[in-house]
Amino acid sequence: MNLALREALRAFRRAPMLSALSVTTIAFSLFAFGLFGLVALNLGSALAQIEERVEVRAFIASGTSPEATAAVVGDVGSFPEVASVRFVSEVQALDRARRELGEFEDVFEAGILPASIEVRLRDGFRDPESVRSVSKRLEVYDFIDDIRYGEEWVEKVYRLRNIATAAGLSLGLIFALVAIIIISSTIRMAILARSREIRIMRLVGATNQFIRGPFLIDGFLKGLLGGLVALLLTWVTFEFVGQYVVQATFFGTRLAVVGVLAGALIGLLGSAVSVGRHLGKV
């Protein structure tokens, strides 16, 4: 192990240009992937925020007793799809309208806005079908006048999310694939440059396992370094965009660590495949 590590580091020292080139190539392909991931992450969280606003609003006929209303709130609160239920009285509705639309303050008179219950849905139940089924169950109560949930809007958000998910997954796969291809060919190049060394090792009777060691460490280190540089580049870009274009969210620590480790893993696997091919002869 000690010797393998020494040999791997020797490769860095002996061919600093080639090693730097490998690390840079890995860094840039992961950087492209990282930027894409950042866009996907932010689009996803923006969509999630919009989705959170999906709610069903049921307007209550005036003169309904508070007991009946309280009973509905209790019933609806126990639906499995429902996250929260809130009762908005006539007075509260009026207050809110005046607050939100200050310049029309005088237009609103007491009693003009009906009381309502606002139903927010749990994550995963914000698709058009669940929303429709919840509102159907609300229709049963005869003191409920009208139900609104912005049907068109819900469908649009839902469709947008589906498209974004599909596009994100397929683009992400393509980006990852391109990164893997670039990284493994970079590593194969580095190994080809050392084929003489491999040849001599074989000639003097080194086992394949022994020969593999330094190359695996080499690939792992290059992938790790490339991943770190890519993370740095992504972060710098993110800061720049945040300052001049739009505020966004960066990867969480766990995601960042996973990204860097993915780079190291690709380096390791790329090396394993390339050395394996080299050793496969005979």
Binding site: R202, G205, T207
Partner: protein, 245 residues
């Protein structure tokens, strides 16, 4: 110790590289392998150090058969062979002693043994004074001595030399050849491929001559013991060849 039995080798393209070749080499023998370029000399050496396998027939080396040997057994066999090439095959970024030590390091020799063994073998090839020189600081003959030292450091049964003097001038060639004879005199068999006919003819060593993949002449054939006797453990060096001028 080395025995070819009706060996043929066909590479994917072209004519057969070897065609029904049979011969054997005893412990401690010195054998020339001659013939024009492309006659199959290198292929014979490659078959011995298992860089390739025969298409048909059997190659036996140090008790291992090409028919039954698994890929995992190859490294162990190679540690008992030393190989030297025309282009030396040294690592350019390592000193002479590091190049020699490399052969011991990659085979898991305890570090404490490496230094003394490298020093001993470099002295044997006459390069003790240049142990810390890089290959490009050495002459061609000196580089070949380093390569020979590397081949010898594991105390091989046989030294395989593929045109070891092909890149060297006449005077240097003589020096390298003398070194190979010294190596042989210490009991290591030497199998040397060369197309230097002048060198071969000036000496009375056993000669195997190849042409277009066929063994056309074996100067030692009639004087040889049977294959059964050759495989007997502890068969001694062939004194006649070791003492030849």
């Amino acid at each position: 110790m080395i025995r070819f039995t009706h060996v043929g080798k066909q590479y994917p393209k072209g004519d057969p590289a070897l065609d029904d070749v049979s011969f054997h080499v005893n412990r401690g023998e010195f054998v020339f392998l001659t013939g024009p370029s492309g006659a199959g000399k290198s292929t014979i050496l490659k078959l011995i150090y298992v860089d390739t396998r025969p298409t048909y027939g059997e190659v036996r080396v140090a008790g291992q058969s090409s028919v039954t040997m698994s890929a995992r057994q190859i490294p162990a066999l190679r540690r008992r062979l030393g190989v030297v090439f025309q282009d030396f095959q040294l690592l350019e970024d390592r000193t002479a002693e590091q190049n020699v030590a490399f052969a011991l390091e990659v085979t898991g020799t305890p570090p404490t043994q490496i230094g003394p063994r490298v020093a001993r073998v470099l002295t044997q090839v006459g390069l003790a004074a240049k142990a810390t020189a890089l290959p490009h600081e050495l002459s061609g003959g000196e580089q070949q001595r380093v390569a020979i030292a590397r081949a010898l450091v594991n105390d091989p049964l046989v030294l395989l030399a593929d045109e070891p003097t092909g890149n060297l001038d006449t005077r240097t060639t003589r020096g390298i050849f003398q070194l190979l004879r010294d190596v042989n005199a210490r009991g290591t068999a030497v199998l040397m491929a060369t197309h230097d006919l002048a060198l071969v003819k000036s000496l009375d060593f056993r000669t195997l001559e190849l042409n277009q993949g066929r063994l056309v002449y074996d100067s030692g054939a009639q004087r040889h013991t049977t294959a059964d006797e050759l495989d007997r453990p502890g068969a001694g060096p062939d004194v006649r060849d070791g003492d030849a001028p």
